[in-house]
């Protein structure tokens, strides 16, 4: 017997005019961040201003997608759309070029998880228009 009742799917991010370049890059499996050209400090999530100056003088740069784990939490009560994935692990990732991104950690052996562990970005096709970033061990 098949069960017709399906859990809702995870939400699809809705780009704004500010964030569109990041999502366009994501569709080519590339991770783009805004940077302050002076200090080379990145910022995530995309803002309408450069946080270092308060002006719109940021620039988009591609980053390697490599980083290390700053912290993680194993989620037992799922977010909307994540019931089929529970329990899942959310990782707070310090990117190699600076900046911090929180995303699902996948393909990971839970026992091997360590703070500072090397990870790299990978992509989940969430819809026809959107790739969502995830991270996996960089082995």
């Amino acid at each position: 017997m098949s069960d017709d009742k399906q859990n809702p799917l995870p939400p699809v991010p809705m780009p704004t005019q500010v964030s569109q370049p990041m999502w366009d890059a994501a569709n080519q499996n590339k991770l783009f961040l805004q940077f302050d050209p002076e200090t080379n400090k990145p910022q995530f999530w995309p803002r309408p201003v450069n946080l270092q100056t308060g002006k719109a003088d940021y620039e988009w740069r591609e980053v390697s997608g490599k980083g290390t784990i700053y912290a993680w939490t194993k989620v037992h009560v799922p977010a909307f759309g994540f019931a089929d994935r529970v329990p899942y692990i959310l990782g707070s990732i310090d990117l190699k070029e600076g900046g911090r991104v929180v995303a699902q950690l996948v393909n990971v052996d839970e026992e091997a998880l360590k703070p500072g562990m090397a990870v790299r970005v990978c992509w989940e096709r969430r819809s026809d228009e959107i790739n969502v970033y995830q991270f996996e061990p960089d082995v």
Partner: protein
């Protein structure tokens, strides 16, 4: 000496009101505000027409009402000459005292009502639109809610200092004991718990357990504030004075890789002490905003009651009951009395005022002359919380 517009006690709280927190009342914030105002008028003998200032906060239940101030005034029959709508989460109720004080001192109004009421237990949070980063960069990645943010924060703290779950459990028990004698605590929480109950409670986002978290509910609180001169001329004797205040919003926006165990309390804690000319040892009671137990511990460390990383030891070695050396959230805090939505900051605040007026039946802190009260607002993008505020209150 730090400039402090409250140092000469120019304003005084003359009355407080609070309704019992309820799980799902079916009521709206206006009904709770009406109940609270009724208590304030009853206590003071004033009429609603004597109130010429009104401060509110944006309640979750009315998210989307872009005329909340007008709607509230019309529900209550008020005709204020000064209004204020504050939306910095759990910092709002106390932030409104500082804002009302400034309005009274600058003669924009004489008697202000500060209201905190919400019915998030009834409406839930699904209808609100937070915009920006939450819906684009958090929820689609699996952000389930505040327990996830506090799970990451707890993990970061554990790596840096070591997290003692027994200490958090001890804090849970101490606060629950307060709720047992607080008739405004939510009914479901008026039964004792043990440290083992805390440790055994369901894990939401590791290491955050169910008994680490507040439960959203319905309820409300409020107060009347006026100039000290006017309060005395009207014959009010049981006064509570705000004597120092400090607030910060959007802590550390430009650091791309912040230490998320650090909070705005590292700024506003020392600042409020400087303004009051006091130190941690001078504080008789601590009423910290408690959305999660670890938030209480972090505040103890960063405001300066103990050193960073020593919060667990401090909790385990200190009697934090009303009879103890360092009473904390004597009415149960929000974790054991309930969080009436974005009016939740009023729970800790009202308890402090009640104590300083000597009316905390069954849990009165003897000889308490002052209290430090705090607020916390907003989960930003996986940094620490966004807003922090501290106020020192003194009794008369």
């Amino acid at each position: 000496m730090v400039d402090n517009f409250l140092s000469d006690k120019p304003v005084a709280i003359i009355a407080y009101g609070e309704v019992q927190n309820q799980r799902r009342s079916g009521k709206r914030p206006y009904e709770f505000a009406a109940d609270v105002m009724g208590q304030l008028l009853e206590r003071t003998g004033l009429k609603n027409s004597d109130i010429d200032g009104m401060a509110t906060h944006m309640p979750t239940a009315e998210a989307g009402n872009t005329f909340y101030t007008n709607t509230m005034a019309d529900n209550l029959g008020l005709q204020p000459r000064w209004t204020q709508l504050t939306d910095i989460g759990g910092c709002s109720p106390m932030g409104n005292i500082a804002r009302a004080a400034a309005a009274i001192i600058t003669e924009q109004c004489e008697v202000a009502i500060c209201l905190a009421s919400d019915s998030t237990g009834t409406t839930g949070v699904g209808h609100r639109r937070l915009g920006g980063y939450r819906q684009e960069f958090m929820e689609p990645m699996g952000f389930q809610g505040p327990p996830v943010a506090f799970g990451l924060l707890s993990h970061a703290y554990d790596q840096k200092y070591g997290l003692d779950l027994n200490a958090l459990g001890q804090l849970a028990v101490t606060q629950r004991n307060g709720a047992l004698v607080n008739e405004n605590a939510i009914e479901q929480f008026r039964k004792p718990i043990t440290v083992q109950d805390y440790l055994d409670s369901r894990v939401i986002a590791e290491p955050i357990r169910l008994l680490d978290c507040v439960m959203r509910c319905d309820g409300g609180s409020g107060l009347l504030i006026t100039s000290t001169k006017r309060a005395k001329s009207m014959g009010f004797k049981n006064l509570v004075y705000p004597v120092a205040y400090s607030e910060i919003t959007n802590f550390e926006p430009s650091d791309p890789n912040p230490d998320i165990t650090e909070t705005g309390f590292a700024t506003v804690g020392p600042d409020v002490f400087g303004k009051a000319g006091m130190g941690p040892d001078d504080i008789d009671m601590f009423h910290p905003y408690d959305d999660f137990l670890i938030a209480v511990m972090l505040q103890m460390e960063q405001i300066g009651f103990c050193n960073r990383g020593e919060g667990g030891d401090f909790i385990l070695s200190t009697d934090m009951s009303p009879n103890g050396k360092f009473p904390v959230n004597t009415g149960g805090g929000q974790i054991s009395a309930g969080q009436p939505g974005l009016g939740g900051g009023g729970v800790n605040l009202t308890e402090a005022i009640r104590q300083l007026m000597g009316e905390a039946n069954g849990r009165q802190v003897e000889k308490a002359q002052n209290a430090l009260v705090t607020g916390i607002g907003v989960i930003p993008y996986f940094r620490n919380w966004g807003s922090s505020n501290c106020m020192i209150l003194e009794g008369s």
